[in-house]
Amino acid sequence: MPALPAGISVTEIDIPHKVRPEKPRSRLFNLAKLSLALLVAWLVLPLLPLALWSFSRSWYFPDLLPSDYSWRAWEYALSSTSGVPQAILRTILIAVATTILSVIVGVPAGRALGLYQFRGKALIEVLVLAPMVIPGIAVALGLHVVFLKLGLAGSLIGVMIVHLIPTLPYMILVMAGVFANYNPAAESQARSLGASALKAFYYITLPAILPGILIGSIFVFLVSWSQYILTLLIGGGRVITLPLLLFNFATSGRNDITGAIGMIYILPGIVLLLFAARYLSGRNMSAGNLGQI
């Protein structure tokens, strides 16, 4: 990776080029641009062999391209035999349910933390953030016992609930940030104009926090979407999601099928991102809340 050039322009303060046609700096700037391009290329690069493998029939070392192409990996991956279509639905179902649950639970908590000062707030903040910095596996092993007893181990609902552990903090954090910049007087305003509490929430609060909910939801969805170990531990192999299938084939050396499932696996996320790009881009500050723990 290119190192950080010392002189990268750190501000928007641009020095008049007409006045200071200093070559080294602009070369440095180009270098910075080049390294940015390299970085981005690097970020996209690993997806390419995956795509290529999914269409290959045989691709031996040292061939740069497969010597034989075929659709069979896709045919298999898309057939119900492989369980992939069912797993997609199941994975989406889990991610969506987790997202909805986290909204229901996280928005009120975010409001409390963002809007009010109260005793013990710092403690609650630490508690809320802890699941973000304490790996899920540490908790899930102990939780497995509880879930077993509750009959939740190995069930779809159990997996949804356990997915809340790593995702809820994202939602709460984003919402706390949203509410910290939210003026509750807008609700008072609506009330004084004759809106009931419910209407004030629906017409005033909701639209104001919606972008935040969206950002939070995207994070929650993606974290749940790519969750492996919690699903495996709590789902106990019975709740088969896409990552489980992918791991299955990745460890059994079927690169073509792995490639196909991999491609299928990233698709919904990219669609989601395309749809949400404008919310995620630097303009929306909600994401910055994650940097505020």
């Binding site: 045989s58 691709w59 031996y60 035999t81 106990g236 079927r254």
Partner: protein
């Protein structure tokens, strides 16, 4: 061990099975096996018995064992989530010892007569008596594979292999003992060090182990510098070795199930010039089974499915090279002449060594306690 429903006759079982769903937990890393099970078997049992087959792919059979174990501890004794497991060896031992199995239904199965229970390699699963707790499904025997376009004279015995490795540095490796196939390779070396398996059979004996083990470790350690990556690391899984072989990083591949050679050629992972063979001093063979957990809520259907898996139709379909190419667990001689002929007429994949040839030199498996000891010993003495 645990008591299950007592069916008086087969018809009762079949009647009870109708409409049930069987959750069959099995390793899910091979698309052709998945296809065979989900598509062909699933379709057949639905058609013939009105049973729904739900294949659940797992990474490791131990996962399924764990589920049952967990359920037992949680007191879920009749509503477990596992109905059938593809199993053998250590996992079978664990389940048997922990009382996790549903046993004693074999006599009901019409196809049980196709099994030669006098064959100790069927009646014993890794040295542990089956005791009516599992149903044989496949037989497998360890074999080596090489690419005859690259390697002219592969080593034909462990002794030759040891010499060959030194002559071909970096071209051989074996998976770590944590891998099923890595473990069996190490056992071959162990047998070689012991001068054959005879002294090792039976229950674990520390004294015998201590006498042989140092020799075996010495051989493996001597081999180490000539292995792939100087033996600094070993593949985690047999699939990794397959990748290494496919990409010509190593010259030799081996597998407990020779059918895999054909499968890998079929699916383009291995070159078509792949050939396989057994060792002159013999290779280890085993049988793998399906078993029903004691707390399966769908035992009738699981029994019907297990019976069907043993049927001629199922075993024949499975033996087709294009499907799987797995060696049958049933005794072909019990079949009708016609069926025997049909079976024999199956084309053989060029890459897969003929079962008859392999069967000439079959070595028995060891008791799981021996295997554990060897695996642990390897970790301590070779891996580090």
């Amino acid at each position: 061990s645990a008591e299950g429903p007592a069916y008086k006759n087969w018809d009762e079982v079949v009647a009870a099975a109708k409409g049930e769903t069987v959750n069959w937990f099995m390793w899910g890393g091979a698309d052709n096996i998945n296809r065979y099970v989900s598509d062909w078997v699933g379709r057949e049992v639905a058609k013939r018995y009105g049973i729904t087959l739900n294949r659940i792919g797992i990474n490791d059979t131990a996962e399924a064992v764990n589920i049952v174990l967990g359920e037992k501890q949680a007191g879920i004794d009749d509503d477990g989530s596992v109905d059938l497991i593809w199993i053998n060896g250590g996992n079978f031992r664990t389940m048997k010892q922990a009382g996790l199995l549903y046993c004693g239904y074999l006599d009901l199965l019409p196809n049980n007569k196709l099994v030669d229970w006098t064959d100790i390699s069927i009646a014993n699963d890794f040295g542990l008596p089956v005791d009516g707790c599992e149903v044989p499904w496949n037989r497998a025997q360890f074999a080596f594979a090489y690419d005859n376009a690259r390697t002219a004279n592969p080593p034909r015995s462990i002794a030759e292999l040891i010499a060959w490795v030194k002559d071909h540095p970096g071209e051989f490796t074996y998976p770590a003992a944590t891998d099923f196939n890595g473990s069996v390779f190490i056992r071959h070396v162990f047998y070689y060090a012991a001068g054959g398996p005879k002294t090792l059979l039976g229950d674990f004996d520390q004294a015998k182990f201590d006498a042989v083990a140092p020799k075996a470790w010495a051989i493996l350690n001597e081999m180490k510098p000539y292995l792939w990556r100087q033996g600094k690391t070993y593949p985690n899984a047999i699939a990794t070795l397959a990748q290494l072989f496919a990409n010509k990083e190593v010259a030799l591949y081996f597998d407990y199930d020779p059918a895999i050679f054909g499968i890998n050629v079929e699916n383009g992972t291995f070159p078509e010039t792949t050939r396989s063979y057994g060792l002159e001093d013999g290779t280890i063979g085993n049988t793998n089974y399906v078993t029903i957990p004691y707390n399966s809520p769908n035992k009738a259907a699981a029994i019907v499915l297990a019976n069907f898996l043993m049927s001629f139709d199922a075993q024949y379909e499975k033996a087709k090279p294009a499907v799987w190419g797995a060696a049958p667990a049933i005794d072909l001689s019990t079949l009708s002449a016609n069926d025997q002929k049909t079976f024999r007429a199956l084309p053989r994949n060029l890459s897969v060594v003929a079962p008859e040839e392999l069967a000439k030199y079959t070595l028995p498996e060891l008791h799981p306690d021996w295997i554990s000891a060897i695996e642990t010993g390897w970790q301590e003495n070779v891996a580090k």
